[in-house]
């Protein structure tokens, strides 16, 4: 190191730049939270109020009490839908991915090719026909419509198959010699080893479903059937001027994903950056 002080100055500058940008970056979310604790007048003030004065939980009480926006029902719907969807993705994609990675059978490469090929089909072509199919199944305006169809996506199978291929085969061979059948090998050996991939896929599926907007706003209609993003979408058109209420609603919709993100940040980021999922 010929000039340690120059290195130190450069490092300090880097920190300064990154910290300033990070502060700017997070400020809209800070403002969202502070506004949710403002009065109606405070939220509509023309001079920015970073600290609410007076601070109040009035906005939360008002939206929780409002009969036209059953926000806790939306919250429960979102929780059921996102959990149900993530469980369905794991339950169907994991055995399929295992079969495609480990079992040999006629048609394996054809099935895999067809499944992977659909990764290149623009999802927009599925929009109208899936609405018609969901309508045939009498799922419009009910949670199965937002839980099931998206689980047909090839991503989960593709992602888990890649992971199963990286696992050493010796343990499974040993279990086979011990007389385990394929299902036992899958559940007692392969699945526990794949836990990191399963957790990542669960988190990504949960987040994607929780945040999904386009499909739920068209396929869910009655106020009690909506998920949070869909409900808030309606809520916005009715309350354009009540930013205190909008921000309280936005905070309620953000809390679960932010908590999940704080707890599992590493898995979410590693999973997305390594697998290259695009939302």
């Amino acid at each position: 190191m010929s000039a340690p002080s120059a290195v130190r100055v450069r490092r300090a500058l880097l920190h300064l730049v990154l910290a300033v940008v990070a502060a700017l970056y997070i400020s809209p979310l800070v403002y969202m939270v502070t506004t949710s604790f403002k009065t109606r007048e405070g939220a509509g003030s023309t001079t920015p109020q970073w600290i609410p004065s007076p601070a109040t939980t009035g906005a939360y009480r008002e939206i929780l009490d409002s009969a036209d926006s059953p926000i806790m029902t939306w919250f429960a719907n979102s929780l059921i839908a996102a959990t149900g969807h993530a469980v369905l993705v794991l339950a169907t994609a994991a055995p399929a991915a295992y079969a495609l990675a480990r079992l040999s059978f006629r048609g394996r490469s054809t099935i895999f090719t067809v499944v992977v090929a659909t990764l290149f089909v623009p999802p927009v072509v599925l929009l109208v026909p899936n609405f018609l199919i969901v309508n045939e199944l009498a799922w419009v305006d009910s949670l199965p419509a937002v839980i099931v169809p998206a689980a047909a996506g090839a991503f989960g199978v593709f992602f888990l198959r890649q992971f199963f291929l990286t696992l050493p085969a010796e343990l499974e061979e040993a279990a086979e010699l011990d007389g385990c059948n394929r299902w036992q090998i899958f559940t007692t050996i392969a699945l526990p080893l794949a836990k990191p991939a399963l957790v990542t896929l669960f988190l990504l599926s949960f987040l994607t479903n929780w945040n999904d907007f386009l499909w739920p706003i068209y396929v869910l209609l009655s106020p009690d059937a909506l998920t949070l993003p869909a409900g808030l979408g309606n809520f916005q058109s009715a309350n354009t001027i009540r930013y205190d209420l909008l921000m309280a609603g936005a905070v309620i919709a953000s809390v679960p994903v932010i908590l999940l993100y704080l707890v599992a940040q590493r898995w979410v980021i590693e999973g997305i950056s390594r697998s290259g999922l695009k939302g």
Binding site: V157, S254, I258
Partner: protein, 312 residues
């Protein structure tokens, strides 16, 4: 490891004896049983809709009407006739999609790459910065749309206040495009940044050391080591970003509602409104296939461009 799991001679004999029975031979239907639950979903909600959607596009198909007359390629002909109502709407929407894609993609590639380069080093707090830049992406577009609608409010918004402007970000052009692109950059910058960062960390250190030994300066190292090293990741990022921008929906729906005069109503927004609100599903399906055609051409161009550069 292999010693433990490879059976010795005695067991091998025992194994050979039992191999004719259940232990070794898998029931030939077992793999299909593993696949069945997924394949049912795949057939009903992926394969069927692709065909069914095309079939729908050949009809005048209204979900609320019993008769769905076959019109052949009539819906497509309407779309390619700019003087028809559907045609003019569709190309206005395609234009909006094109403007947004062209305006957003360079920023959604360049800025995340810059952030990834800044974060690509060993220093304290790097993971904290990474977590902060990524944070908006875990929020849904509904939350993002709300927050920015407030911040961009023409009368009381912080953006106008701090910039000393008096711009109607959600109803005027070109301000609405600036707002839609800016919000999208804020929302998704972290996604491409973490992917680029992962790509940067996969470039072997020795390559940089070798370049330094050869006397390459920082700029030369960037051009001869970093950029080529990022090529595999870049193909993916560029393609996925173009597709994401060309499918932009929520920002427009929540911030501008397509205003002014449907100038910011994107193609997917028009398709959703036409098919799922007005129930003109034949027209909407034909629109979705034309849009899909454009998207697949765009992807093909991206892959071709990166392949050519690889050969050179």
């Amino acid at each position: 490891m292999s010693l433990l799991t490879r059976p010795g001679g005695v067991e091998e004999v025992a194994f050979a004896a039992s191999s004719g029975t259940s232990a070794r031979r898998m029931n030939r239907w077992t793999p299909y049983a593993f696949l069945a639950p997924y394949l049912v979903l795949f057939a009903v909600f992926m394969v069927l809709p692709i065909g069914f959607g095309f079939w729908t596009s050949l009809h005048e198909w209204d979900i609320t009407l019993p008769s769905k007359p076959f019109v052949g390629l009539g819906n497509y002909a309407d779309l390619f006739d700019p003087s028809s109502v559907d045609g003019s709407r569709f190309w206005t929407a395609m234009r909006a999609t094109g403007i947004f894609t062209v305006a957003s993609v360079p920023l959604l590639i360049g800025l995340p790459l810059l952030v990834a380069l800044l974060m690509n080093g060993r220093f304290g707090g790097r993971n904290v910065y990474r977590a902060v830049y990524f944070a908006p992406y875990v929020l849904g577009v509904a939350v993002v749309g709300f927050v920015w609608r407030y911040l961009l409010d023409g009368n009381i918004g912080l953006v106008n206040h701090y910039l000393g402007l008096d711009v109607q970000w959600t109803t005027d052009l070109p301000a609405a495009w600036v707002a839609l692109v800016g919000v999208t950059v804020w929302w998704t910058l972290g996604l491409n940044a973490v992917i680029f960062l992962a790509g940067l960390q996969d470039i072997p250190r020795e390559l940089y050391e070798a370049a330094m030994v050869d006397g390459a300066g920082p700029l030369a190292r960037f051009r001869s080591v970093t950029l080529p090293g990022l090529r595999p990741v870049s193909v993916f990022v560029v393609n996925a970003t173009i597709l994401a921008s060309a499918n932009m929906f929520g920002q427009s729906y929540l911030l501008t509602s397509g205003a002014p005069a449907d100038q910011t109503k994107t193609a997917i927004y028009l398709i959703a409104e036409t098919g799922l609100r007005q129930f003109d599903m034949g027209t909407a399906s034909s629109m979705s296939f034309v849009l899909a055609g454009f998207l697949m051409c765009a992807s093909a161009l991206v892959f071709a461009a990166f392949r050519d550069r690889g050969r050179r």
